[in-house]
C-alpha cells in the first residue's frame, strides 16, 4: 500500500496534466536544477509583478512522475505569491518529507498528497526539486533588484 500512498490519484493527475508549464522571454530570474541520480531537470523562471512583492512562475521540466507532479503543485500553490508567502510552504514541504511535520493543506494544497514520498528517501529529491528551484529563483530575482 505504501506505493499507492506515494502515487496517489492527485499526483498522477498533476503528472498527466501539469499546470503552468511554459517559459517566457523576459523573466527576472531563471534557474536550472538537476537531480543527477535519476535524470530529473527543471528550468524555472520567476517574474516580478510590478507594484507588488509577488512573482509569477514559469517552468519547463523533464523527469519522473513525482518531480513533474510536484512542479505542477508548486505552480498552483506559489504562482503569484511573494517570497514571504511562499517560503513557509517550501520549508513545510521539506519538513513533511523528513516526517518532522504533519501535512498542512493550507500551506501546500494538493501538495499534502506528496507525504507518501517520505517513505521512499530516494524520491525526496524528486519531490523537492521544483520547490528548491523556486526558492533559488526568487532569491536571485530579489538580489538583482537590490532588495
Amino acid at each position: 500500500m505504501k506505493l499507492e500512498n506515494m502515487y496517489q490519484e492527485i499526483i498522477l493527475d498533476h503528472y498527466k496534466r501539469p499546470h503552468g508549464k511554459g517559459l517566457i522571454e523576459d523573466s527576472d530570474a531563471q534557474v536550472h536544477h538537476v537531480n543527477p541520480t535519476c535524470g530529473d531537470e527543471i528550468t524555472l523562471q520567476v517574474k516580478h509583478v510590478p507594484g507588488t512583492d509577488k512573482f509569477t512562475i514559469h517552468y519547463d521540466n523533464q523527469g519522473c512522475s513525482i518531480s513533474q507532479a510536484s512542479a505542477s503543485i508548486l505552480f498552483d500553490q506559489l504562482d503569484g505569491k511573494s517570497f514571504a508567502e511562499g517560503e513557509p510552504a517550501v520549508e513545510h514541504m521539506v519538513a513533511m518529507m523528513q516526517r518532522a511535520e504533519e501535512p498542512d493543506e493550507d500551506l501546500l494544497g494538493d501538495g499534502i498528497a506528496l507525504v507518501g514520498v517520505a517513505a521512499y528517501p530516494a524520491r525526496v529529491k524528486c519531490a523537492l526539486l521544483s520547490w528548491m528551484a523556486w526558492k533559488d529563483a526568487v532569491i536571485q530575482a530579489q538580489g538583482k533588484e537590490g532588495k
Partner: protein, 428 residues
C-alpha cells in the same frame, strides 16, 4: 559446457536470502553498479583482521610478515587471473582512481618537464605538447571521460571522441581521422555499462600502435564477466574495480607493463612509495610500490583474491556463457513488450548483460520504483554515462545487469515487473 548451478551459487551469498519491501524475494539486477559478495570473500577478509592484521611493508614483527605475505600473495593471484606478472598490478581504491592515476601521470610529467624537474626514464611518452590529442568514445562511463576532459583543460591539448552508431556500437567509419600522429592516448571501455556493447579492441590497438599512441582499457564490466587476458589484448593499461567482481568495496586495479609503470611519475604521494626522503627532496620507489602510498588496504586485497578464487573455480568462460544466455532471454522477452525500447545493441553477439531500456509514457525512476516494490533491484538514471543518454535522446534509462547468481526466473520476473509498472500507471 554444463550450466552454472545457480541455486548452489546463490546459497553462497548471504544477502540473497533476505527479503525486500513487503517480504518480497530479492531479485538483484544491479551488479553493474556493485556485485554481491559470497561468504568466501567475507570470510577471507574477516580472517585477515582476526588473525593476520598488521601494517603491510612496515615492521619486522611476525604479524607484519604475515600481513605483507598475504597482501603480496593476493597481488600474485590477481595478476595471474588476467595473465599478468605480479609487478604489473597496482592496487588503487577503484577503477576511477586507476584511470585518474594514468591521466595524472600525463599531467605531472608535463608540469615537471615544463619546470625542468627530475622525471623517471622513459617519461617523455607522458609529456604533452601543444597540438596533442586525447581520444575517448561517446559511450564512456564518466570515470573514463572526466579525467581526460580535465587533463585537456589543464594542459591545453584537445579531447576528441569516437561517436556511436544508432545500434549502440562504436562508429569506426572515420577512425583514421581520429587516431592520428597527434594522438597520445586512446582510452575506451571494453564493455559499456549502459549499452552492454563489447568493443573490438584489436581494431583500436592496431590503429594506435601505428601512431605510437597508448591505449587504456576500462575493463570494469569485462573482467568480472568474461576472460580478460593481457597477452591477447595488446593494450597498455587495464583498469577495473574489485567490488564489481564479487570483491570488497574500496579496492581496484591498474595493470600495465612494468617498464611503462616505471616511466610514470607518481600520483598520490606519501609514505610507502618513496626511496629516499629529505627536507630538500625525495626520490620514489619503483612500480608498483611507487603508486601505492599509505598503509595498504590489505584486507580488501585478500578479499579480492578470494573473489578471484571463487570466479576461477567456476571458470570465466562458463560465467560468460551463462550471462550470454540470460542476455539473449532478456533481449527476447523485453523486446516483445509493447512500449519498451532497448537502448543498445539488440543482437546478443559481442554484447554483455547490461540491458538498458525506456518505457513509453513512464519515466525510468517510476519504472524502477514499481520494480523495487516487487523486490527487483535495478538502476535508474544516467548510469554515470550522461552523454550516452543524450546521444540516444532519452532523459534517462532503467538498467538491469545480470551475474552468476541470476537465472532465467529473474529475467522473467523483470519482464513481468515491467508490465506491472505499465499497468500501475495505466500506460499499457
Amino acid at each position: 559446457m554444463s550450466d552454472l548451478d545457480v541455486a548452489a551459487i546463490k546459497a553462497d551469498f548471504p544477502i540473497l536470502s533476505r527479503t525486500i519491501r513487503d517480504g518480497k524475494k530479492l531479485v538483484y539486477l544491479d551488479s553493474g553498479a556493485t556485485s554481491q559478495k559470497p561468504r568466501q570473500v567475507l570470510d577471507a577478509e574477516r580472517e585477515f583482521y582476526e588473525k593476520h592484521n598488521a601494517a603491510v611493508h612496515r615492521g619486522a614483527h611476525q604479524l607484519a610478515e604475515e600481513a605483507t605475505d598475504a597482501y603480496e600473495t593476493a597481488r600474485k593471484k590477481i595478476a595471474t587471473f588476467i595473465g599478468a606478472k605480479v609487478n604489473e598490478i597496482v592496487f588503487t581504491k577503484n577503477a576511477t582512481e586507476a584511470i585518474n592515476l594514468v591521466s595524472y601521470a600525463f599531467l605531472n610529467a608535463t608540469l615537471k618537464a615544463q619546470n625542468k624537474k627530475p622525471l623517471p626514464e622513459g617519461s617523455e611518452q607522458f609529456v604533452l605538447h601543444p597540438g596533442d590529442e586525447l581520444l575517448v568514445t561517446e559511450m564512456e562511463h564518466h570515470a573514463n571521460l572526466i579525467p581526460w576532459q580535465e587533463l585537456a583543460d589543464k594542459t591545453g591539448v584537445k579531447l576528441r571522441w569516437i561517436g556511436l552508431t544508432d545500434s549502440g556500437r562504436l562508429d569506426l567509419s572515420n577512425l583514421d581521422s581520429l587516431i592520428t600522429n597527434k594522438t597520445r592516448i586512446v582510452s575506451l571501455t571494453h564493455q559499456s555499462n549502459l549499452l552492454g556493447t563489447i568493443n573490438d579492441i584489436d581494431v583500436i590497438t592496431k590503429a594506435a600502435k601505428k601512431v605510437n599512441a597508448l591505449v587504456l582499457l576500462d575493463a570494469c564490466q569485462s573482467v568480472p564477466h568474461m576472460k580478460v587476458d593481457v597477452g591477447t589484448l595488446n593494450v597498455d593499461f587495464i583498469t577495473w574495480s574489485g567490488h564489481k567482481m564479487l570483491g570488497p568495496l574500496g579496492i581496484g586495479c591498474l595493470w600495465s607493463r612494468n617498464e611503462l609503470l616505471n616511466a610514470m611519475p607518481p600520483f598520490i604521494t606519501g609514505g610507502s612509495m618513496i626511496e629516499t626522503v629529505s627536507m630538500e627532496g625525495s626520490t620514489f620507489a619503483s612500480a608498483p610500490q611507487r603508486f601505492e602510498a599509505g598503509v595498504p588496504m590489505a584486507a580488501q586485497a585478500i578479499g579480492l583474491a578470494a573473489a578471484v578464487d571463487y570466479l576461477s573455480a567456476i571458470g570465466m568462460d562458463k560465467v560468460a556463457a551463462h550471462e550470454h544466455k540470460l542476455t539473449q532471454l532478456a533481449l527476447e522477452l523485453l523486446g516483445k513488450i509493447p512500449g519498451v525500447r532497448i537502448i543498445g545493441p539488440l543482437d546478443s553477439a559481442n554484447r554483455g548483460s547490461a540491458i538498458s531500456f525506456v518505457v513509453d509514457g513512464l519515466h525510468p525512476h517510476d519504472v524502477g520504483q514499481v520494480l523495487d516494490e516487487q523486490g527487483i533491484a535495478v538502476r535508474v538514471g544516467h548510469h554515470c554515462a550522461w552523454p550516452v543518454c543524450k546521444r540516444y535522446q532519452v532523459p534517462a534509462t532503467t538498467r538491469a545487469t545480470f551475474y552468476i547468481y541470476n537465472d532465467e526466473s529473474d529475467v522473467e520476473a523483470l519482464a513481468a515487473g515491467i508490465i506491472k509498472a505499465q499497468e500501475f500507471f495505466g500506460v499499457k
